[in-house]
Amino acid sequence: MSWLALVANRLFWFVPTLLGLLTIVFILSRVVPVDPAVLMAGENASAEQAQRIREQFGLDQPLIAQFVDYLHDTIRGDLGRSLYTQQPILTDLAARLPATLELAFAASLVALLIGVTLGILAGLHRDTLLDHVLGIATISCMAVAPFWMAMEFQSLFSMDLGWLPLSGRVQGFPPAQVTGFIFLDALITADAGALWSALQHILLPTLTLALPAAATMARFTRNGVIAAMSSPSVDYQMAMGLPRRVIIWKYVLRMAIMATVTQFGLTFAILLTGVVVVETIFDWPGLGSYAINSILQSDYNAVMGFTLCTGVMLITVNLLVDILQAAIDPRGSA
């Protein structure tokens, strides 16, 4: 299959996948015995006030009608309004997406850097003390719950050592918004203080998110290296007398990296899942904390909007991974 055909194939499945996702989330959100109108009306409201809210947001309509309306509006780019912020969902998502993307990007970068490095080291030193130590370390990182790791980091780096901020995305309110990406905005507005502050604030949530992902990547990279080292082509190169470092650099790493790239799509999904918890603990104003709040308050449109947004991100990342795989090893796409 050519690259073009691969992309076309993935795009063809893009819409049905999203539709399936939305249908499942819609059904799940409606089977929970919650009446958002009662919640929104407040503790002191009358039944009539709650009914008025139901009518205002179409919650009094049959479920099928609500779903059809939702799909119709979604196709037109209208994801509805949030019950609580009273803003269009797109506006809410746009306000929070940059924070999450910034965190996910930083965590992916750190995870790649640490995971690939440790995976290669472990694979090249298979069954040595280093391999065992790294094995224990990576399994520990995967086993530790993100919320516990987050609190331990806060306790150590913020409370005991006082090196890093406890929470938030930047000290005080962020600099004047241009793109919503705080690093970019700080650069554009030449606000060195905000840039420095943002860098300090992103470190702990990044590490919390990145370590489990790095551990997973390290395991996969290690296995990839071991498999490559015992492959017939490497045996052949060794028999040909090529120096070990040339074989590793030129053949082993190239073969091993396939496993890492394949893994990255899954790792990104893990990162997005972790974001929900990490953003809450570190008071990081992104999609994760928005999702938590929306779920707790049964803000249907917001939950659906979050799902749609993360679904699109995941499918896009997986598409990019497929393309990258095809670029590294064209045989896979044949």
């Binding site: 009662v38 009358s46 006030q49 008025r52 806060q154 050592l161 090196w163 890093l164 406890l166 300090q200």
Partner: protein, 527 residues
């Protein structure tokens, strides 16, 4: 292009060194605490989604309502006092239906526009037209078009009938700048979309920035009519910090100068050990009890309910589970307000009496459902303790943990409401009607604690709501309280103590059970 391994290695090492350097930077973490010296940062566990004082009405929104806006009257201090705020004086007609208020003439909105009676009229009409937030307190008594401006400083309310609680609920009508809101109305929405993100008040603080993702900041309004002490706080920030541990650590580090006063008690004990934190303590008016669904058998049998009331271990719960952090409150009204008959003892833990009452139940018994509010330890622990006690008298109960969203929805109707819900009743206005009246009155069925159906109670309530005699009202509410206590219409456990954590650099916090320590115009940093 060939990249040498050495180059790759150097890149990795440099990246790690950069990360390390940032992590080890000395000004890093400490800067936050130092910089907040000029700003009072209050961390709360809820979002400030909307800044419209006519559509939101919950405990956290008091931060917005009482700092950015003013009302005709205001509740302050503890025990709460109702003091004139925008109003200088009031008079009421002989039949109790016409209230006339004279406004102060020196009040300005934040844009410099004078506040007049026309703004009050617009605010009232807007509140009852939107029918959200605090509107529920007024829809019965204020009808559209019945509030008028007699002159720029006189406003007249013609009520649908006499109301003994009208003045007490009046602080919940906050006054907006009518010209400014009108200019931002769209399609007859009363400016609702605009005011959710902007501000049109005359309050002690003026909105600077609002970000629903983060919270809002406000600067001191120097021209506020009430004047200022010599060292007021110039800038406030109300920040959403959902995680309790993060709020507590932030207080201990000095990042935050205040956080919510209803934290779990073990967190209060942590905060007390920090030199950066002072925990203020007040008996408040937020009662906790087991709300019983009186509508379904066998819960509609008074003997069954009394058996339940005798089966809760009040002292064990308060002394052992809650470590004595709250006060026993035997009736539906807080101990700190009138309306409870002298010497009301309520029920005590006595399983023998519970069995005696159970023996008198006429119909068949069935397993009960106790729905605890998930994540709220008092509610969860009370549910489990009660389940164990019930088992000892032969009643099986299932405990369900549900988030507030699920619980609130199920509680809205008698058919879906669980048999028992351990829950709080907060202060919205300071009158026994806020508690015994609303929890058990048939007219308040949507906000009732109980689905209690007692025509004799409702007759007393009707009289209490129109009486202009304090003595008569007191007697009526005492009778109502006695009635629900005798009927065991609910199980009343404790009155909450408020433990307000503030920075030890802050002084002048004035707590009121209505504003929950969030009305910050009197606070200042110590010299």
């Amino acid at each position: 292009m060939r990249i040498s391994r050495r180059a790759v290695f150097r890149t990795v090492v440099c990246s790690a060194a950069l990360l390390g350097a940032v992590a080890l930077s000395l000004p890093g973490g400490q800067a936050e605490a130092a910089e907040s010296g000029t700003t009072f940062v209050f961390a709360d566990n809820s979002y400030y989604n909307s800044l419209d004082p006519h559509t939101v009405f919950d405990v956290p929104s008091a931060a917005m309502r009482f700092n950015l806006y003013d009302g005709l009257y205001r509740w302050v201090d503890n025990p709460p006092r109702l003091i004139p705020w925008l109003a200088e004086s009031d008079s009421v007609s002989a039949d109790g239906t016409v209230y006339t208020f004279t406004l102060r003439r020196d009040v300005k909105f934040h844009d410099g526009t004078p506040l007049t009676a026309a703004d009050v009229v617009y605010s009232v009409e807007r509140l009852i037209a939107l029918r959200k937030g605090p509107a529920g307190n007024f829809l019965d008594v204020i009808k559209p078009g019945k509030t008028r401006a007699a002159d720029p400083s006189t406003v007249v309310f013609e009520l649908a009938g006499p109301s003994a609680i009208f003045l007490k609920t009046l602080p919940d009508i906050l006054i907006v700048n009518s010209a400014l809101v009108r200019a931002n109305e769209k399609d007859g929405d009363w400016g609702e979309a605009w005011l959710a993100r902007n501000e049109a008040g005359s309050g002690s603080y003026r909105l600077r920035r609002h970000d629903p993702v983060r919270g809002f900041t406000a600067t001191r309004f120097a021209d506020h009519f009430a004047g200022w002490s010599d060292r007021p706080i110039d800038e406030l920030e109300f920040r959403t910090v959902l995680d309790t541990n993060t709020r507590v650590l932030g207080m201990m580090r000095g990042d935050f100068q205040g956080t919510d006063g209803y934290l779990p008690y073990e967190q209060i004990l942590r905060l007390r050990r920090s030199p950066n934190v002072t925990v203020l303590e007040q008996e408040t008016m937020r009662i906790f009890g087991l709300a019983l669904n009186n509508s379904r058998p066998p819960m509609n049998d008074v003997h069954f309910r009394r058996a339940l009331a005798y089966a809760f271990d009040y002292d064990g719960f308060i002394k052992n589970v809650l470590k004595g952090s709250v006060s026993r409150n035997p009736g539906p009204n807080p101990n700190t307000i009138w309306g409870t008959p002298a010497g009301l003892k309520g029920y005590s833990y006595d399983l023998a009496k519970a069995r005696d009452e159970l023996a008198q139940v006429q119909g068949p018994l069935r397993p009960l459902t106790i729905m605890a509010l998930a994540g709220l330890s008092d509610s969860e622990q009370a549910a489990i303790l009660f389940q164990n006690s019930l088992r000892q008298i032969g009643i099986e109960a299932t405990v369900e943990m549900a988030p507030w969203t699920v619980a609130a929805s199920r509680m809205a109707q008698a058919e879906t409401r669980p048999d028992v819900v351990p829950i709080w009743k907060s202060t919205f206005y300071v009158d026994p009607n806020n508690w015994v009246g609303e929890m058990f009155g048939g007219r308040y069925v949507a906000r009732t604690f109980s689905f209690y159906n007692n025509p004799a109670f409702d007759r007393l309530l009707d009289r209490a709501l129109v009486s202009d005699s304090q003595d008569e009202r007191q007697a009526l509410y005492e009778d109502m309280t006695r009635m629900v206590s005798d009927d065991a219409a609910g199980i009343f456990i404790y009155n909450t103590r408020w433990y307000g954590p503030y920075s030890s650099r802050v002084e002048g916090i004035r707590f009121s059970p209505v504003s929950h320590g969030l009305d910050l115009r009197w606070a200042s940093f110590k010299r």
